[in-house]
Symmetry: C2
Subunit: 139 residues, 2 copies
């Protein structure tokens, strides 16, 4: 796929940062329903207009950039357990992958200016946020 | 992939490219269930090991980089209809947003080496793919 080398590099611009009691990679829950704490998303003032229609109670998908992940990994032991056979990363939710984007479905609990509090987020303190999208339900 | 260490830490690295009959931005469906066609994802040979556990029938989330989107937009008329009041992009699925990452839940129909055919994808031909993740269902 030589054409791929013609792409310009694509740089993400963080729009917010996670403020969370989670600071230890090894003890962090792997999924939100495994005991993840509430967290604040502290948005950059330059993107405030993008938040204007978000409401308390909304369910949204937060996209993070898992900046501590190893981007050279293509196979992992699922859930970091060596008892699980090695498996390609694209069939796992491992943070280790070529583009370590995390997807987190959360509910908004509070909106305070450029700060948004969410109910359960399995991302470490300081993790950059790169997007927020509404959860779509087909009608 | 040793060269990856030279990358800007916030730089996305395309892993595949969408091959689709969709070539016209204006006529493309906005959501997969609005008539999106089947598409092939043509993976870069360097990431093949990451695909090894994907199977026909799997439901996965494809993350694209909507490279034609306007990244300076923070408010939009939802669905591009000026009859809809302007709204912050983070409560819409508009491609226009600071980091135009597309989320697409699809089913795998065929795997042919580095090519994966999926059932319905509302992304234009040539769109870069940046990640593939399994759909998680809580047990």
């Amino acid at each position: 796929m030589d054409a791929m080398h013609d792409y310009n590099p694509f740089e993400l611009r963080p729009i917010a940062t996670v403020q969370s009691p989670l600071t230890d990679l090894m003890s962090a829950p792997k999924q939100a329903h495994e005991g993840a704490p509430q967290a604040w998303l502290n948005f950059d003032p330059t993107v405030l207009d993008g938040l204007d229609a978000l409401r308390v109670g909304d369910r949204v998908i937060v996209l993070t950039w898992l900046h501590r992940a190893d981007r050279d990994v293509l196979v992992v032991h699922p859930r970091g357990d060596v008892a699980n056979p090695l498996q390609g990363v694209f069939s796992t939710r491992s943070p280790a992958r070529p583009n370590p984007i995390g997807l987190h479905e959360v509910q908004i609990l509070e909106i305070d200016g450029a700060r948004v509090r969410v109910d359960a987020l399995e991302a470490l303190d300081g993790t950059p946020v790169v997007d927020v999208k509404p959860v779509l339900r087909r009608v």
